[in-house]
Symmetry: C2
Subunit: 372 residues, 2 copies
Amino acid sequence: MIGGGQLARMMIPAAVNLGIDIRVLAEQPGMSAELAASAVGDYHDLDTVAAFADTVDVITFDHEHVPQEILRALVARGVAVHPGPDALLYAQDKLLMRQRLTELGLPVPDWARVENPDELDAFLAEHGGRAVVKTARGGYDGKGVRVVAHKHEADDWFQALAEDANGGALLVEELVDFRRELAQVVARRPSGDIRSWPVVETVQRDGVCAEVVAPAPHSSGRLAEVAEQIARRVAEGIGVTGVLAVELFETTDDRLLINELAMRPHNSGHWSIDGSVTSQFEQHLRAVLDLPLGDTATREPWSIMVNVLGGPAQGSMSDRYAGAFAAHPSVKVHNYNKAPRPGRKIGHVTAVGADLDEVAYQARATAAFFQD
Amino acid sequence: MIGGGQLARMMIPAAVNLGIDIRVLAEQPGMSAELAASAVGDYHDLDTVAAFADTVDVITFDHEHVPQEILRALVARGVAVHPGPDALLYAQDKLLMRQRLTELGLPVPDWARVENPDELDAFLAEHGGRAVVKTARGGYDGKGVRVVAHKHEADDWFQALAEDANGGALLVEELVDFRRELAQVVARRPSGDIRSWPVVETVQRDGVCAEVVAPAPHSSGRLAEVAEQIARRVAEGIGVTGVLAVELFETTDDRLLINELAMRPHNSGHWSIDGSVTSQFEQHLRAVLDLPLGDTATREPWSIMVNVLGGPAQGSMSDRYAGAFAAHPSVKVHNYNKAPRPGRKIGHVTAVGADLDEVAYQARATAAFFQD
């Protein structure tokens, strides 16, 4: 696994259970997945990545930031890379993603490629004077995303592109009038089999996922079907291997539009560790090893995952265990061993059960122990 | 954790989830828990164990074989040792265990301490001419246990004791007329709180645990209560910290008699990884860190664990994954990364669900993929 963050960390239990020898190329010492870090180095450096690849059977990822030229060099050397560069491209570049999804006939917000303020102005004029501008590359958790009402509100980004030898453009999208955000997580193995978890509702705060409810409450069976069909068509159309998360808008006029794609285990699937027969981490391992996928049934009618964002102002998450465990003996606590810092995801908790209100209370009240 | 076997291995996922930095003193390189092995050395050597203890907050165990003098030296140095030597003594020496349980008024088979064939003969005469002889120390998985019908059938063991400078005696017990074997697993934290899982049925083959059904089928509520009370009284009477497994005989005249004790996560509790809200491994960590214990409710009405004993005649467990996973997508497979060898526990599988027959079929059929 390239990348030593919490997604690599959460892969460790699944690998240990299945007797899979997991190794991580971490960016630096002391990262969340340190236990499995067999190498430390820069994933932008081909020699580093290739030397690591020589020690494993399959390469997969904690994030989507490994450059295309590195990925393609690995494939040229005969390394099994899942997901492969042809798929990852669409998780790395939002303009290419929008273009490809549009070609595939999949539902996306109105969008355009804009190279200068005048092109942005034209889009604003056609979309009620407001729009969302995104950098094509490098954005996550609300970074690289900006709501604008004037053509000059993205000038800093246009300027940066003008100074970039690779050139490029920004993505502009209609400001979608949505009721809520959903996510559909699926896994696909190289030989084609796909399994999906139920569509979930994701609650964002300040552009960061705060809470996930699985399955998405108050959903018709038809909504769940459409969400699953969309994710399957993305996975097949793009040739994703491993876990794919499709973030969706449910619009106020009852359409589903694709917001973002992630080609790895995703925050919207963390509930599956405790709430599904097969977690997204075990499934990702099965998928990238081209093994038959596991059952994605829920263990209980409802699962709610609440992120621990920021963490305690003083001390660490585990300093709060005595109180949290005494009050909530059935809630599962996940601690990424990351230092608390405002807004940082340092852990999550998951409650499961038959009563949605009770499950929500349990999860939120437990998470509150870890945040001041 | 002292000892690098599969119990230490199965502790890793629980530790990773809770952000607990788990370190293992392994007997040799390449053991089952290698991923967490921060040291390799002999647990009979105080310097080795003390140096390891200096790197951790709490010492606990993969097995009960660490000598008393080492354990007591650690305690004298101020190391937190859970379970402590005063409790572990009764898992290390079956004669002392029988004596202590008898003092506590707990139900055990008729037993005696025998130092020579004539004493054995006297016990045989009083118990219908047949009895079980056990070495006080070192037995496990059927080793050090022998059914005898004649006073000279244990002469080799008497001879070994006579040659041992420490002297000693054998334990002889009545041959219990039992309907089935049960196990009651509980966990106790140093401050006294105890939580128990439901009593389970254990099926032995050739003296080795082959299968565990949780809860024990066809059990009255009263049986479950008595089993739990027995285990609580053992845990409190002996001062156990961490997980305690009490192996029980259910006699044909409906009594429960204590067979063996284990003071660590136990094969009869492996089902809890997939079948209980809190696994025995997470609970053991909570207990030895003196944190509030987790909910021990079952996730589904039935869980069945089947050991993979021996493994494939050729190749490894994972060579059979394609077939096993395709046929049984909901069964959880645990692979200890141990080389196959006749009779060796190299993994287990657990199925859970509402229908006992279906769960049994799923578990047994999956395990069969891994055994020729």
